[in-house]
Symmetry: C2
Amino acid sequence: MKFKVKFYPENKEIEAEQGKSVLAAAISAGLHINSSCGGDGVCGRCKVIIRKGTVHTQPSGRISAEEKAKGYYLACLSTVESDLEVEVPPESKIDLDKISDEEAYLSRLKGIFTESVEIDKAETIIGEELFLHSPLASKIFLELPKPDLEDKISDLERVYREIRKKENLPIMQMGLSNVRRLGNLLRSSDWKITVTLGKRNDTVEVVLVEPGDTQDRSFGFAFDIGTTTISGELINLNTKKILSAKATFNKQASFGSDIITRIIFAHEQDGLERLHHAVIDGMNAMIREMVAENNIDLNDVTCCLCAGNTTMIHLLLKVDPSFIRREPYVPTANFVPVVRASEAGIKINPRGLLACVPGVSGYVGGDITAGVLASGISDAEELSILIDIGTNGEIVLGNKDWLIGCAASAGPAFEGSGVVCGMRATKGAIQRFEIDPKNLKVNYVTIGEVLPIGICGSGYIDIISELLKTHIIDKNGKINTSINDSRIRQGEFGKEFVLVDKKDTGHKQDIVITEMDLDNLKRAKAAIFSATSALVKHLNLSFEDVRKIYIAGGFGTYLDIEKAITIGLLPDLPRKKFVFIGNSSLAGAREILLSVDAFRRADQIAKKTTYFELSVEPGYMDEYVAALFFPHTDKERFPSVIK
Amino acid sequence: MKFKVKFYPENKEIEAEQGKSVLAAAISAGLHINSSCGGDGVCGRCKVIIRKGTVHTQPSGRISAEEKAKGYYLACLSTVESDLEVEVPPESKIDLDKISDEEAYLSRLKGIFTESVEIDKAETIIGEELFLHSPLASKIFLELPKPDLEDKISDLERVYREIRKKENLPIMQMGLSNVRRLGNLLRSSDWKITVTLGKRNDTVEVVLVEPGDTQDRSFGFAFDIGTTTISGELINLNTKKILSAKATFNKQASFGSDIITRIIFAHEQDGLERLHHAVIDGMNAMIREMVAENNIDLNDVTCCLCAGNTTMIHLLLKVDPSFIRREPYVPTANFVPVVRASEAGIKINPRGLLACVPGVSGYVGGDITAGVLASGISDAEELSILIDIGTNGEIVLGNKDWLIGCAASAGPAFEGSGVVCGMRATKGAIQRFEIDPKNLKVNYVTIGEVLPIGICGSGYIDIISELLKTHIIDKNGKINTSINDSRIRQGEFGKEFVLVDKKDTGHKQDIVITEMDLDNLKRAKAAIFSATSALVKHLNLSFEDVRKIYIAGGFGTYLDIEKAITIGLLPDLPRKKFVFIGNSSLAGAREILLSVDAFRRADQIAKKTTYFELSVEPGYMDEYVAALFFPHTDKERFPSVIK
């Protein structure tokens, strides 16, 4: 049976099944009501006033006698039993969890931050399907036999018995709040219910019990939480289809561009809270957008899987990351327990689950575990390398028997941050670039083939490569001012080269590259190259011993390997050794979201991987300094480029 | 390191270890601060003002900017880092969970309810130790190797690794709130911590992480939650010693004397909440008293195990019991998940656990499962019967291969309720009674050998038996007014016999037995006898086939089997077949609290036991009516009595 529920003052009306909680109805209506306990009736923040109609409610001490007299109820404990008129008082809408001055503070930085944008869904689909389909949370519809004098087992046992007919689950758990709802829910739904089974490490929890058949509506999110960029996908857990994919800048950047400055900021007054909110607010905004665009009810989003470096995961969960940067650099957790998403402030179904991909160490995180999983390097006989190019770059070398990884602080330049005209690999970003050596005329391709508005990582790689070839810049990255071209000029930020005149751009501003940009990009590529090189040397190997090099990162669908070698980002090896795999962290997160087997495999990968500490490696600093040239001080290491 | 923490306005000062939460310090000081989320920082009810000194706090959105400016903190998220002065504002002390008019309502009934009283600790110790010592929650002290560059696993894995060196636990869980505390706690305690491992069905949770070695301080409660009486024991989980044992009336009695009327009352406005609070308030009062008397810190009480009939367990957990009395009489849960005690309102350590003994059906509950466990009837080859005499009497027949149980609504008379001079089996209760047939002079023994103030169940059995033998009452329980004795008189409640003159009593009031009392006692004994008899007949057995009959109930240490047969409560069988085992439900609860093996055995017992529905049994009503005589209509069934 369905009823109409109208919410005031918004005047929003929706249909809700009998027995649905008023909180769930509000979520379905797209309204925000505070709730921090997962709908257990504990936090007392979801108070509403029932103006008209009947609810079935569980008693709660969080409603005072006066409030009760005024018609107040806890939305999470009250179920729809007739048409309703519900008033949501202002105090139930103010999100106290948000730091009040946060937005004001961030608005000062406006301009850096754009709204989240669509990313190409295809970019990250690689490899075959290796793992059994068994998502982190899955729904099962149950038509329970009604109890009679011959079959009198209790409601809870009846539900368990029916689940066990379909799945072999020795250990099951159910929270008290669901037990409290069970008796009425089973009877009002005529014993037809949908249970959501959540995998919490080695146990299974009956996370949700809903009236009727909601099996078809089962959704989850996969996230890659990068130091600079947060990428997310909304996934249909039944069909495994990616319904939306978006990326947004990580607003934590306003508190420091790399993980070290963020860890330091976390120790300041309110620092941890602000960093935590910067990331969850960004994620929640993306979730809201993608859910709305796909006409999905947020109640049907039951799980969220996150990959990120260790510091990002600590901040996501509001766990103090301080000890990551103090010797001996030990994080609080590499293997994080599966928690209720609402505990971490992630707004999906209030009882939905949040899991994080296990990490290796303080500086080699779950993003790289996810990348190893997605690239398949841990399944191969031959030696491969995975290079994840990001603000916190991570490199793993190994095969099915062993894995070793290290981190390189590259800075955010290749993610389009800290460079004057940088942007993410989204619509309007220059991603391919050429200069005609004869007349220095430029030619470029933007993502979405629209007028350009900025440059993404792969665009910068092309641009530097072309500027080198045409000698507009030298191997130090300095602009050759002896060339007589009006596009070489002194700009607001020093010497610059105008790549696209404002009349040809989407936002009517010149698109330029400055010497400062070139310096940042040079340092970024040097950090990645020297780390990869030091790792290979540390094992007394050479690049020739490596069969495949997987390049990952948020470069969109395009990365010109040839040009990445030209600028000295990647080693000078036969081109066929390189495979560009896009955002492998996000791809791995998606696989883990969709398969408990993949989750187990990720655990094994994280346990198996050895951490290699670059900073204490003799010769690493020399290697880095030598790489601060395009392509390198030692030209012999880039023979094909020199030729 | 220890610091002084002073609480205002109470002016209470205690010493607290560095790193202890302010909430835990308040609990140690014996102060009540609201908290309903188990110290997870979710409910926001434990706000305090730090007047002086330093705390380490986790950020929380439950503290507004203004409150923060005023020095407000959440007590659960803030740890002691110096000497402190802490103000507990009034709003953090008002227990909103209590229904405001509850106490006023109950005070009208004053007089029925006395304070909880000591019960004899020895009464329930029976049998040998069968089960391995492994309590529901156990503490382990860990001296963790400090991390260094050679041993860099994360804090959480380090704790797990150390636990696994001592115990074989494949599955371990830890909540996010403990993970959030872990980094600082490990370092401030110099890597010396005590973890409390809680057994939650087939998984183990790290429930608590405390600085230093608190292994010696590990306590739990066992409760028997009866319809009329709540009995509890404070147990040292290390030594298995019972430190205190108390009993109190179940204040739910003011909403109905039996389970059916309570289930009906639960459906009224606020009914479930009131019944729930009546039981938990009673339990919490007992907990407070026993903890105070033994100088135990409530933080060190980490678990609570409850046995009770199915309705009592539903009300304890605030689960709607309605469906127990609607055909086909199905409860919401017989096997209840282990929950956090604070979720059910039980005030021990806020993260401590609450478990309930599994029940068989709506009318044969966990109290009888516990009794079967304690009596050992499910371990024996021979057939035995367990008769648990209480308001909701329960009878089980069986052996190691099979068990069958039924319930008999006996009313509270044998628990000293609903009878004019009734009281529990505690100090001042008449428990033995004799009348000299020659001169009708009485002789009696009270518990504690003090002046009498009332009569307990075993006293009533003796009294009826003696009144019958001396023909002061007839087989209908009517007082023979033809006897010329001033003690036989018309009282406020009809005809009565004065057992003790007021000058000889402790409270200077006559102690009497009335015809109405005799009627209630007759119906109680008839319910028990006829149920036992019907159960035996139903299986085509006779009492002669039964090897042992275990008699359980809150009779203190004494029950005269001979006299119980004389009044027709027990069948007329060779006296050596009977064994009085006291409160077997409490004894079983204690065994289960102290052993996970015993818990598993209880699960098996509950699963193995068949429920026998008396009310649909042909001939049961006849059997009951025939038993409404002392000893019985059919004298041939009591040959030794007639003789």
